[in-house]
Amino acid sequence: MAVSSQQQKYWGRTAAAMKIAFLFLICALSLFPFYWMIRSSLMNQMELFSFPPKLYPERLRWDNFTGVFEAVPFPLYFKNTMMIIFPVLLGTIVTCSLAGYAFGRLNFPLKNFWFVLVMSTLMLPPAVTVIPKYIVWSKLGLINTFYPLTVPAWFGGGAFNIFLVRQFFMTISKEIEESATIDGAGYFRIFFSIMLPLIIPVLVVVTLFTFIHEWNDFFQPLLYLNNDSKFTLALGLITLRGEFNSQWNVMMAGAAIMTLPAIVIFFIGQKYFVEGISFTGMKG
């Protein structure tokens, strides 16, 4: 009996070690493309096209990055991207926290109806609405401005964000605002002075997700911005594909420049990201 339990423990430990080993192998596989991007961005053409492929450059060729900066007006595109991201962030946070509060803590007629309607927009393919929206923005003469990309954030804030904020509100004890109501404080005062400070963690999640989403967005800028003085980075870097068609070192440098800020934001809010994504599934 003793032997068998010892054996079991032994097998248990071996199995755990094998699991970890397998997971590390998968990690290596998923990191390798990142590594390949960086190593290619620091090579010259000769090294790039040598066979068998070299694992690392002999000398770090930073001039590929200068190549990107010469081909693409990087500061301008970066500024454009930021001029879209900041209004979107602000609008998203304001609207989704207001709506999340109402859906999470207040009672009102047709509450479920509106909530289901808002959530159902998550499943709606954007293609169904994109053509009329494009027509209206262009009738308003606002193609090649940032308005089509920023204004919608102030009306809606994203169904997923509203959902996150609502769930968070539902975990806060009901007593907190009851005492405030007795004091005669209005709902807006309760919201701004009591609720808003409490939901900062979930607003951080919303901010991070929204930042990454806007930073990565390609379809909307492609649609609404067609003058290259208005391009965002995601859109502007596409020109590299034409200009440096087989210069993979320069293209990888461009990809690295585009990826780095997303990774930095991800590491800053890593804990929040992973929790946010886990949260999605749990309540899904």
């Binding site: 709606l124 393919p125 293609a127 492609l222 993979w248 999605t280």
Partner: protein, 309 residues
């Protein structure tokens, strides 16, 4: 006496209804931007695009009603339409099946002491946040037939080189492989689901002499069916709308092998300016997604287990 109490109750209930009304007004003010947005960005444009789909609106300002002829042309004479439906479904099924299997396996393997796997969680999630432009460049390079990493690995093992996204038969499988790189986020959702499984159920299996397979198959899997279901629905909706990879990497080629539906729609609407025709395509996409989602929902009654709630 009784009357007085009654009056008091009435007064109380009136006061309560007053509070309720104040609360409702406040709540509507709070959700006002969202409701406005709902009408401005969703319901209004949906109605508009339905109307436009019955017109031959090509360039600005010339709109003529053409009845159902857009739809008629799509279903009877548009070979691109059938091609793009086929290609998109192939891609979506491939993505959803591979990612679901991978995320269940990875999620289950990660289901251990949280501290030990925090590094693994981070690493597996990382590919998800790479901008589509960057990952498209990167994978174009990895897929490069002459000097790409993947063919170098193949030739190292003596396997003949593949053309990856540059050949008709391997284009979609290649893009599915690229999509599989981002399976980590699904794995994290599975992992979160597994954390809710009551421990005593595993112990019960152990007492009955069951091994890891029984634990996995009879306890873990039933408990994470809601999570698998969620991943399935969202995965389908997402991959049926793939666009950026086709736009940047393949432009729908070779020989329309990656003519994703939304890419085809984009081309019709914003390159050829066929707003009417593209709107009809958009509504067909809407119904395809709605029907597939309904199908998954319907089938879910047979296999999704909500006992954990």
């Amino acid at each position: 006496m009784e009357q007085a109490v009654g009056a008091k109750v009435r007064l109380k209930s009136r006061k309560r209804s007053l509070i309720a009304r104040k609360e409702a007004i406040a709540a509507y003010l709070f959700i006002l931007p969202v409701i406005l947005g709902l009408f401005l960005w969703t319901i209004g444009p949906m109605i508009a695009s339905l109307f436009i789909s019955f017109s031959n609106w090509q360039v600005f300002d010339t709109l003529k009603w053409v009845g159902i002829s857009n739809y008629e042309k799509i279903f009877t004479r548009d070979l691109f339409f059938y091609k793009s439906i086929l290609v998109t479904l192939y891609y979506a099924f491939g993505c959803v099946v591979t990612t679901s299997v991978a995320s269940v396996i990875l999620g289950s393997l990660m289901n251990m002491d949280m501290k030990r796997i925090s590094f693994i969680r981070t690493v597996l999630y990382m590919p998800t946040i790479v901008p589509a432009v960057a990952s498209s460049f990167l994978w174009l390079w990895l897929f490069n037939p002459d000097f790409g990493l993947l063919n170098s690995i193949l030739s190292f093992f003596g396997i003949p080189k593949l053309q990856w996204v540059f050949a008709e038969s391997t284009a979609i499988p290649s893009l599915i492989l690229m999509h599989l790189w981002t399976a980590g986020s699904g794995a994290l959702i599975v992992l979160a689901g597994l954390k809710d499984v009551p421990k005593h159920l595993y112990e019960a299996v152990e007492i009955d002499g069951g091994g890891w397979w029984s634990k996995f198959w009879y306890v873990s899997i039933p408990f994470i069916t809601p999570v698998i279901f969620f991943n399935l629905v969202m995965g389908f909706i997402g991959s049926l709308q793939a666009f950026t990879t086709a736009y940047i990497m393949t432009q729908g080629g070779p020989n329309n092998a990656t003519l994703f539906f939304v890419y085809y729609l984009y081309r019709e609407a914003f390159v050829n300016n066929h707003f009417g025709y593209a709107s009809a395509l958009a509504w067909i996409l809407f119904w395809i997604i709605a029907m597939l989602t309904a199908l998954i929902f319907k089938s879910s009654k047979g296999w999704v287990f909500y006992g954990g709630k």
